[in-house]
């Protein structure tokens, strides 16, 4: 293996120093190392995404494990958790092992499959959670993401059942009866546009129920893509009571608002929907306070025809892996310690990904990313590494450029480009 000297890098904003990488680990000084000039760059532990849609198997026209892995690496990630809503659904050991194996073959990030909670995401019957947990994929997070585990009895059972193997249920909080036909956040803008509203209470009611269930059975709950100020208050209350709950927010919910729907361009259609400026402000504060534990992308690639249509007929979702860190930088500023906590250490801990999210100290796995905080770039959909183009940031100038990413000591990205 090649050894690297990352020359003059600032570790989380500290004074520049050389960082050495050898045999997959951060090491002490190495004499014959290849030099990577990191003048002006900041080193972060490799980012970890708890919520990625890689679309394989089933929608390889939108993304594959390989193309999604490459997009992740270019975005500074060294590990991603692949959501289960593929076709076939990742609800058996066979499918999660397939995704896990494809991730290993691509070798650009660690791909950790998430298993479905219920068979076919149908919300009727538990999938074989234990089989997925003991499979080669070693699944720990289970989610019906895209669908809510709405049945309270089934949700209780799922929370209880996964305690046997330290599992965690990641809930897509959306009361389905309150969101029938919903197209965007219910409020002034939906009223003006005549689009069926997705009320904040549909999210908040499920989170409230689930934190009480998790408390009742003493289980771990993770809340996907929190999007409302009210949800933040429910989580704050639950955490104060000591409930074992963690929560994520997406970059787009930290930056964008429902006003963007005014164009009727479905590139802004996402589930949960973009909310109001007041929600955005509450989510930012919650991320700083730690009421929301992590940033997760909900990277949701879609084929062109699924977005180039009427709003109501478009699929919800946005790509996000390649813009997540720039968006978070624009929101939080250069708070490197906080960014490392919310985008690397804590997601790695929630997912149980040992070897990721560790401080870049001698003897730890060399999973890291190098960022140029002074660079600014205009997002060009055509320039994305992902197979899909559905970014809501087209034409937006964002700070920060991911210059290099190392996975276990090997560069996956150099000079902003994937090496394979």
């Amino acid at each position: 293996m090649t050894a690297y000297r990352i020359k003059g890098v600032s570790l989380l904003g500290a004074e520049p120093a050389d960082l050495f990488v050898r045999d997959g680990m951060i090491s002490g000084a190495v004499a014959d190392a290849e030099t990577v000039d990191a003048d002006g760059l900041v080193a972060l532990p490799g980012l970890v995404d708890l919520h990625t849609h890689l679309r394989e198997p089933g929608r390889e026209d939108a993304e594959t494990v390989e193309t999604g892995s490459r997009a992740a690496a270019v975005g500074g990630y060294t590990a991603v958790c692949a959501m289960a809503n593929t076709s076939p659904v990742a609800d058996t050991a066979g499918v999660v092992e397939q995704v896990w194996r494809l991730g290993r073959e691509a070798g650009l990030v660690d791909v950790q499959p998430i298993g479905a909670v219920t068979v076919g995401l149908a919300g009727k019957q538990l999938a074989e959670l234990g089989a997925m947990a003991t499979s080669a994929a070693g699944v720990r997070i289970f989610s019906d993401d895209g669908h809510c585990v709405a049945d309270p009895r089934l949700m209780r059972r799922a929370l209880e059942y996964v305690k046997a193997f330290d599992g965690i249920i990641a809930q897509h909080a959306e009361e389905p009866r309150l969101t029938e036909g919903a197209q965007m956040h219910e409020g002034e803008v939906s009223t003006r546009l005549g689009l069926t509203g997705w009320p904040a209470v549909a999210e908040e009611a499920i989170i409230a129920r689930d934190v009480l269930l998790a408390e009742h059975v003493g289980s771990r709950l993770h809340v996907c893509h929190v999007s409302t100020a009210g949800s933040v208050e429910v989580l704050r209350h639950a955490k104060a009571r000591g409930v074992r709950v963690t929560a994520e927010v997406t970059p787009h919910h930290l930056l964008l608002t429902d006003e963007l729907a005014t164009s009727y361009d479905p590139v802004f259609k996402v589930n949960p929907p973009l909310r109001t400026a007041a929600d955005v402000a509450a989510l930012r504060q919650a991320l700083i306070d730690g009421v929301i534990d992590i940033v997760a992308t909900d990277h949701a690639p879609h084929a062109v025809e699924d977005k180039e249509c009427e709003w109501a007929y478009a699929r919800p979702g946005m790509v996000g892996l390649e813009t997540a860190l720039p968006v978070v930088l624009s929101v939080l500023g250069e708070q490197w310690e906080l960014i490392a906590e919310r985008m690397s250490r804590t997601p790695a801990r929630i997912a149980g990904l040992t070897g990721h999210g560790t401080d870049l100290a001698v003897g730890t796995p060399a999973n890291l990313t190098l960022v140029d905080p002074s660079a600014r770039r205009v997002v060009d959909p055509a320039g994305l590494t992902s197979r899909s183009r559905n970014t809501p940031y087209a034409g937006t100038t964002l700070p920060g450029r991911i210059v290099a990413t190392f996975l276990r000591g090997e560069p996956t990205v150099l000079d902003g480009k994937a090496v394979k």
Partner: protein, 307 residues
């Protein structure tokens, strides 16, 4: 002149007034033996209808034909659309055929906005989902002005299923632009959230029809679909009718000059009693005639006809 008419919000007061004035000139044609102008000869107007709406389609068709435009009716049923063609591909097809204007009726809110991004010609919204129906608002404004002599300062009550009504949204916007004072009336379940803040002009909201009628110059009754009952917007057709229907005793509460409007098609006996619909206050048949004049004015002005 504006290029597209996607929303009543596309119209400022001057443009809206110009359209109403032009509609007035167009209306004089209806009394002539030859009801036709050569203005749009050689221009192509496509009626692209994704919903069955015979009334609106023939109104636009008559309007375009009276201006001598070539009219192509493109109905979604039995066409390439029913074979799965996307709106974009349909748009590109119409573009290739040289459509100067596309009149679109579509079940999805915002479809005219999407269409306008794919064609060079003018796009006229003939009703999109639960969003807007701006030419209906224009013909309604025209009707009010013909009957009452003005729009500025009028008290207009719009009654019924505002939540699902594209007619209501367009009327709220256009009437605010023209200086009328709008009150939306209906059960709280059928009044959209945040409507006061959402809409220009800040319409008032009332849940009590009886209290609104004595001050109303115009009462516009909206069609209420009985299937809303199944979705618990209200308990029964009878209860709806008792609380929000315009019957003869309620009509008597109106000032003597007040008019009663309905965009049609009506549910007689549900939101409006037959005696009211057929009374001298009712403008319902006039609205249909005015629809052709208003749509002629819109096509004429959008397609660059010189007044």
């Amino acid at each position: 002149m504006i290029k597209h008419l996607r929303s009543a919000a596309d119209l400022d007061a001057a443009t809206a007034t110009l359209i109403l004035d032009t509609a007035g000139e167009m209306a004089t044609l209806a009394g002539r033996e030859v009801k036709k102008l050569p203005t749009l000869r050689g221009r192509t107007v496509v009626n692209l209808f994704y919903e069955d709406s015979t009334r609106t389609r023939i109104s636009f068709e008559a309007a375009a034909k009276r201006l001598s435009a070539d009219v192509i009716n493109f109905s979604a049923k039995g066409s390439s659309v029913s074979k799965g063609e996307s709106l974009k591909d349909t748009a590109l097809t119409l573009q290739a055929m040289g459509a100067d204007a596309v009149v679109i009726r579509h079940p999805a809110s915002g479809a005219p906005h999407r269409l306008a991004s794919w064609v060079d010609g003018s796009v006229v919204n003939a009703g999109d989902g639960t969003h807007e129906h701006p030419t209906q608002a224009l013909l309604d404004a025209y009707t009010m002005r013909s009957r009452l002599g003005r729009i500025d300062g009028l008290n207009v009550a719009i009654v019924g299923d505002v939540l699902h009504s594209r007619v209501a949204r367009s009327n709220v916007l256009l009437l605010a632009t023209l200086g009328a004072k709008v009150t939306l009336v209906g059960p709280p379940t059928l009044i959209p959230v945040d409507i006061v803040a959402a809409m220009a002009g800040g319409p008032k909201v009332s849940y009590d029809l009886d209290s609104v009628l004595p001050d109303a110059d115009v009462v516009m009754m909206l069609r209420v679909q009985t299937e809303r009952m199944q979705d618990s917007y209200f308990p029964s057709a009878r209860e709806y009718s008792r609380r929000y229907g315009l019957d003869v005793p309620r009509m008597r509460k109106l000032p003597s000059h007040a008019i009663v409007m309905h965009p049609g098609p009506m549910n007689r006996g549900m939101e409006i009693a037959p005696e009211v619909a057929d009374s001298s206050r009712s403008t319902i048949v006039e609205q249909v005639a005015n629809g052709v004049s208003a749509r002629m004015a819109v096509l004429y002005l959008l397609l660059g006809g010189k007044a």
